[in-house]
Symmetry: C3
């Protein structure tokens, strides 16, 4: 087990299997020293942790949990192309899309669900640049979607 | 004609001229082995294929066609900086923004209009990471906008 | 003072200090020859230039000014990791998120506030690829958020 997965396990998290590649796109692409992931939804065991918008039915704590699950799935997507997560040199950039009503402005606190998991998993190498933005709706009515760029050895 | 353009021609598609560079930004930038495109709208012959939001006036099939046109324009933008599209090693990442009412959750099927075109054009090298997200509105009231990162020789 | 900052000073702009890193993410990450910034809000002296949505209380000119301030803050974020802004070889990609009502379609003119500042600061090296998209809401109810990828020496 990679040191990354050990640290996650200590915090009670398991890296899932990456979703099966579909015909037209893949969970992640490695190019040179970088891995780009597809946008990840808060799926766990094939089910979304929640559906809906923050500010209308989804509270910020639940959205935080969703962001964390998206982050776990993004790590799984990285693993699907690099094999050993200890090959990750740096989490470079995370973009966190939060399905929001126009009056909900707490996207950063939601996005921390992802950011803090990257810290748990990768330590200093998990310190990343981040954008958090509101969107009206996401695929499958998911409350959060996270995409990632990481540098690998 | 590049093999990429031959494959597109067989499928009935022509790579357009890239939009003229404007003063303040450009259709695409090459940096090292990568090309980043600007966000591409579904313009064909200077006209948008459609305007409006999916879920309110634009049906998903029309939005799929828009995503495909955005993808063609993104390929044109890549061509404007690399010349020969056969220099493309890999389509790395596509981000597909879909102008959506808050109750439309079918962004992935819309985005397939772009993803499938990249498969047609580039074969295995067209398999990319992808994010599809809803947005309330796009420039010129376009239903779809697509941006791209590709690796080139 | 870098030539970049001299050009900005002539145009009446000062590169601010980058926001202090927070625990979970950082203003910018350098990886190889690239710097990725976090999404930047139109903060000046710790205050947002404006709050609200374009099309509902924030007019396009004010949003343009916000985009320019976001761009200044993005330059500050780059400086925080490279030190000397004259090390910037190219502004590669800017993404401009504009908090918009669904009927406001002028995101490109708003985004020019950022794009033109990059031209002022970096000259030809400031010509970048760009995406401009509407979003329903941004952190702290900011009208604009800008993220950046730049190539450095």
């Amino acid at each position: 087990m990679s040191a990354v997965e050990s640290r996650l396990a200590e915090a009670g998290h398991t890296v899932p299997e990456a979703p099966a590649p579909v015909a037209v796109y893949v969970p992640a692409v490695r190019t040179g020293s970088y891995v780009y992931t597809s946008g990840q939804l808060p799926l766990s065991g094939g089910e979304l942790l929640a559906t809906g918008k923050v500010g209308d039915g989804v509270d910020p704590q639940l959205a935080y949990d969703c962001a964390r699950q998206c982050a776990l799935n993004a790590i799984a997507a990285v693993k699907s192309v690099v094999g050993d997560l200890d090959e990750v040199v740096r989490v470079v950039k995370a973009t966190v899309f939060v399905a929001s009503t126009p009056d909900f402005t707490g996207q950063p606190a939601v996005a921390n669900g992802a950011s803090e998991l990257f810290g748990t998993a990768f330590g200093d190498a998990g310190q990343h640049a981040r954008s958090a933005v509101g969107v009206p709706v996401l695929p499958l009515d998911a409350p959060v979607e996270v995409e990632l760029v990481v540098e690998v050895r």
